[in-house]
């Protein structure tokens, strides 16, 4: 009888340990892109790429009902792939897109916009990549969807059709 109890207790212990290990195994062990979702955009003030007298102030973003913040650079090849999607979002859907020019040379960034078009209403120069870290980004391109200054969606890598559809859905 005693042995029976021992076997039951041993069995339960093994099951509990198994469940605990399974839980840890299934938990997210990679970079969590949703860490900033639901949070307010961090505060920053950056110089504008195209107009030296204008500043990109994060408080301006807080006042906007719906906006997109896109981290990009002229040296970033995937940024060229996503650029037509940004142009479409601006032209066809009238979405306010704000750019964050990441660790770039201003001349190259301006040439990039001349060649591929400018979808941005403002472009902050993040020369050292510090604002990108504040945003929880780790590279380019990355896109944040903001609603009254709050991050509601984040896309890592170049925008694609699925991401654009998701953005349009969020805008409704």
């Amino acid at each position: 009888m005693k042995n029976k109890y021992k076997i039951i207790i041993l069995g339960i212990t093994i099951v509990i340990i198994f469940i605990l290990f399974l839980r840890v195994l299934n938990s997210n062990k990679t970079y969590q892109p949703n860490q900033m979702i639901g949070k307010k955009i961090p505060e920053f003030i950056l110089e504008d790429l195209l107009n030296k007298n204008t500043k990109l102030d994060s408080n301006i973003l807080s006042g906007k009902d719906f906006a997109i913040l896109n981290i990009w650079a002229s040296w970033c090849i995937p940024c060229r792939i996503e650029h037509p999607f940004l142009m479409d979002l601006k032209d066809k859907n009238q979405i306010n897109i704000i750019g964050l020019n990441y660790k770039d040379e201003s001349v190259n960034a301006k040439n990039f916009l001349k060649k591929y078009g400018n979808p941005y209403s403002l472009i902050g120069i993040d020369k050292k990549g510090e604002v990108a870290i504040q945003l929880g980004a780790y590279g380019v391109p990355e896109t944040y969807v903001l609603k009254r200054g709050k991050i509601i969606f984040k896309h890592i890598g170049p925008l694609n059709e699925d991401a654009v559809n998701k953005i349009l859905e969020l805008k409704k």
């Binding site: 212990t13 340990i17 839980r23 997210n28 970079y31 860490q35 050292k128 870290i133 780790y138 590279g139």
Partner: protein, 119 residues
């Protein structure tokens, strides 16, 4: 002569402060995961991401922030995954308590077997 001694003392003291600061920096770098690398800390990595983080951490330390504040900042941006040494929370509870539990069960079993043999 007094001036000379003063300069030597100044250099010794400042080098001590400098090395303590460097030690703390390296300690933090070693505990921060380079998210874009494979299993490396930012201390070991020369990727753009690691270099940027090292610069930012160094700047924050110079601005008077402490180790805990820096970890809190990075966790708030990148999640618990960014630190190699995670704190005690619901997800890491098993990690912290299981070895202790297994050790206690093992100790209890040895104790009981030992008692039985004596009898």
């Amino acid at each position: 002569m007094k001036k000379f001694i003063f300069i030597i003392i100044f250099f010794i003291l400042s080098s001590n402060v400098f090395s303590a600061n460097e030690e703390l920096k390296n300690k933090i770098y070693k505990n921060i995961r380079c998210i874009v690398c494979q299993g490396q800390s930012i201390y070991e990595s020369n990727s753009d991401f690691a270099i940027d983080l090292k610069k930012l951490i160094s700047k924050k330390l110079d601005n008077g922030e402490n180790e805990k504040q820096i970890y809190e900042f990075l966790i708030s941006r990148y999640g618990e995954w960014i630190v190699f040494n995670p704190g005690l929370n619901l997800n890491s509870l098993a990690l912290w308590l299981l070895p202790l539990l297994i050790f206690m069960i093992g100790g209890f079993l040895i104790f009981r077997l030992n008692n039985k043999e004596k009898k």
